[in-house]
Assembly symmetry: C2
Homo-oligomer: 596 residues x 2
Amino acid sequence: MQTYKAPLRDMRFVLHELHDSRRITALPGGEELSPELMDSVLEEAAKIAAEVLLPLNASGDEEGCHYENGVVRTPKGFKAAYDLFREGGWTSLACDPAYGGQGLPEIVNKLVEEMSCATNLAFGLYPGLTHGAYLALRDHGSEELKARFLPKMVDGTWSGTMCLTEAHCGTDLGQLRTRAVPQPDGSYRVSGAKIFISAGEHDLTENIVHLVLARLPDAPAGVKGISLFLVPKFLPTAEGAPGARNGVLCTAIEHKMGIRASATCQLTFEDATGWLVGAPNKGLAAMFTMMNSERLSVGIQGLGIAEATYQSAVTYAKERLQGRSLAGAKRPDLAADPIIVHPDIRRTLLTIRAYAEGCRALAGWVAQALDLMERETDPAARAAADDFTALMTPVVKALFTDLGFEAASLGVQIYGGHGYIRDHGVEQFVRDARIAMLYEGTNGVQALDLVGRKLPAHAGRSLRRFFHPVAEFIEAKKDDPAIGPLVQALAKGFGALQLATAHIAERGQRDAEEAGAAATEYLRLFGLVALGFMWARSAEVAAAKLPAANGDAGFYRAKLATARFYMERILPNAFALLPAIKSGKAAMMALDEVDF
Amino acid sequence: MQTYKAPLRDMRFVLHELHDSRRITALPGGEELSPELMDSVLEEAAKIAAEVLLPLNASGDEEGCHYENGVVRTPKGFKAAYDLFREGGWTSLACDPAYGGQGLPEIVNKLVEEMSCATNLAFGLYPGLTHGAYLALRDHGSEELKARFLPKMVDGTWSGTMCLTEAHCGTDLGQLRTRAVPQPDGSYRVSGAKIFISAGEHDLTENIVHLVLARLPDAPAGVKGISLFLVPKFLPTAEGAPGARNGVLCTAIEHKMGIRASATCQLTFEDATGWLVGAPNKGLAAMFTMMNSERLSVGIQGLGIAEATYQSAVTYAKERLQGRSLAGAKRPDLAADPIIVHPDIRRTLLTIRAYAEGCRALAGWVAQALDLMERETDPAARAAADDFTALMTPVVKALFTDLGFEAASLGVQIYGGHGYIRDHGVEQFVRDARIAMLYEGTNGVQALDLVGRKLPAHAGRSLRRFFHPVAEFIEAKKDDPAIGPLVQALAKGFGALQLATAHIAERGQRDAEEAGAAATEYLRLFGLVALGFMWARSAEVAAAKLPAANGDAGFYRAKLATARFYMERILPNAFALLPAIKSGKAAMMALDEVDF
């Protein structure tokens, strides 16, 4: 059985103690955002996650979605759950009050997202994609489109999608073939076929708002000729109700490894009516507003799975009696000791925990920057936050999803053979987690984005948004009596990252294939150092608070112990990644294609 | 679509060039075993794998096994495939001619096993377990039992199982409850409930021979009171035909993540007639004959999956057109370049290849030692081979299955989103591969076996069977003009392994938890160095043969390129594992159970 209680104590730690929520509440628009309000939002979200979403996770996976004649039926219970979710206001949490949103910070929204990812990843995709489509439309849509569509998307009665992929083009959108022909009334007729459209068709909402990449008749070839269109399933009436059926049809859904309760659709557009979003031929940039938001959300999926896995695995490790402690029986009253006495079981659990809490801390840092981008009055501070989120987006997406999948597999290992049986629910985590490394840009594409675009951006200015705080922290704390050894470990990892960065800056500039050959390992190194920084900072907070912690002493002790574990057992991977990066492209490029 | 052609060229390399098959053919009993005979056996096996087993892999996964009223039906086509497999003599390949076997070396058998694992892992379990049961019975059964059962098991008309696990005990067999009561006729009545019994019930063979661990009435508690019994599904008549139904019933089959065409059974024994195998209360030792064989075979499963994944992923990477080479378009005649031009795709493919070929080379070394154990006339040489296989068994089991799972996941990554769709077949590799890390002793248990039993065995004598050849090779070849740099890389990894071994020998002797805390990372380090040794030796052979290779030049060039890739990109993990091992148990043992 999957077990889950939202990790509210650690979420409060991230929100208030590690990243200081007053940084946001002090800004204009934050007057009504007290820490207590945020905490109570998280508490309410925890209830719906545990009571509504979790009970449908295994059954939704078992049943999957059903397709018949263009109609998609989500698994039993999903519609009722979605209605509760929507009526509870969870779709509008971080949206603009101008469109009916609640104006809560994105950092709170991301913590709520983590809960839905942990309890029902497939369910979370439906409102999650709507939120991304909301952002793209809010930032790039005309006032008229925004007025017609955003309130319905914010209150969740209509949902959103992102329609990029075609059968012959995923990463390489330059090959896109879907066409849009302008009409005299200012609308467009969109025709083409898209695949892998999450929530492309379903029975949860009364209308579906597709954001579709397509080419205008006179568009230049390649990615510079792509425009973005809003194509609803039903054309809204003047009163804003779903009206005539539009020319978009779901022709099939995919049969997948996991997230089986999420409808992954093949969509055909046949002279479907749509409206341009943003400028002609600038569709990719507009879509990237949605894409970047989704990439962070996909990262959160990895985090959510890691947390859910941890909780299930700890529960099992405390219950399963097998063997005796190597240091002598701990529970002689029982037939055997619980397996949590064994060092290797603890190593496995702490690995998952170090991933989950480290990723949560880093997600909090990035989400706070998203809020600063929106709310800061100082343009320089907004720009700094923008640099930082752009830099960290590929890291969060790829690192969190890699670690989430690894965590899920480690969780199965705790269960032994029982983990392979569907009843226990942990194998579902592995299958569900696997998608997150693929969609919204494979993790290899994220790594190329990091080394090819984000590192050189603004002559390294983006990079310094991360490097400077880390370097300053190390300098200030390396001899700290409480956390000095942890900081020194971080410094070693950071030193490896600096060397790797210099290597790529030098070699990659001369030869793009050298950057490509180093990309995946560089992103991992970057991510591990970022988590290391979060762990060192978390330890700093914990060490300061522990003496007067009282009831929280166990929480802070665990923080310190897990920080140590991270530095000793996980961060040393930096010492493997650096020589691999420095070895260059020769070993992989020398082999002739025919010899593979 | 899964694609597979048995890697016969590399298999011949392992069999003849790397490990020298004449070492076996020169021994008594090997007179008729020419290299050509072995090659033709492999060629025939390749046909049945590709033509019979592969076409049933996806359909068997999709359909799964069906259970009704104690009867298990395997997926469509499995019975016919099994009949072909059996009639082709593939169940008897490496069995003793005294029982109708063909007397081929185990190294050939393991290569054939790799083919069935690569093409249909679930199918391969049925004959695979029979072979393990054959070995246990051959080594420990009475002459009467052997005469009655072995010929039928060798020719595959009857199959075998191993019945260890009960719901409350997997690793910890001391808790075993199944009972066996002696009868006046020398037989026993066996009663109890077993779970996770692969091939415990099915429709492929006319009888099933269960090897069952159970307790005699006067048995001491714990593992010293376990005996082994042979319990057939049908009691053989005097003529050797399946007679009266015995008291063993399949009560359910498991619903699993993968290997869905393999029947994983719950079995109830109710006064079932059985016969003792080996001495009373020595059942665990007898079962370990089977277990050790199965552990090596499970390792081969990881290898098979890695190879199958590699072939599918390479095919896709050469066909999928997406983006352009970072060094300029390679195929300007096409809409885009095939993705194999990208360094990150090549890095991924070469990782899988380095795992698969490295594991095949190591499997060959261990399998050759199995043959030496059986065939050597010199007792000292037999003992040396015995030491070596005992040492390497946990390494092969855990390392190969970890890498096989990782390889399968990397294969999915090559496919992007398409890899997550069931039609392409690569996600099945991930699901199928996952079991191998769990059964026949989880990989954590393998690691404890390595550090707790195999390292200290005979005062380190077993360990030296591996360390000495590696050290001698490094000493002899470190300045070799052709492979010197590869050998120097191996030497660094080996140095880390020596330091880690000294650490465990010293700390683990004083404190078993210290050995436990280091176990998993130590096994990985050991395994990576072992693969590194295989890669360096493979490179040595390739470098020597390349100048006169003619048609084989591409093969040897690829060997050298992959060896370099392994040393530069994979073996450096040693530099992460060593500090993790040396950090000791404190970080994981300090945390109170309640704080997890």
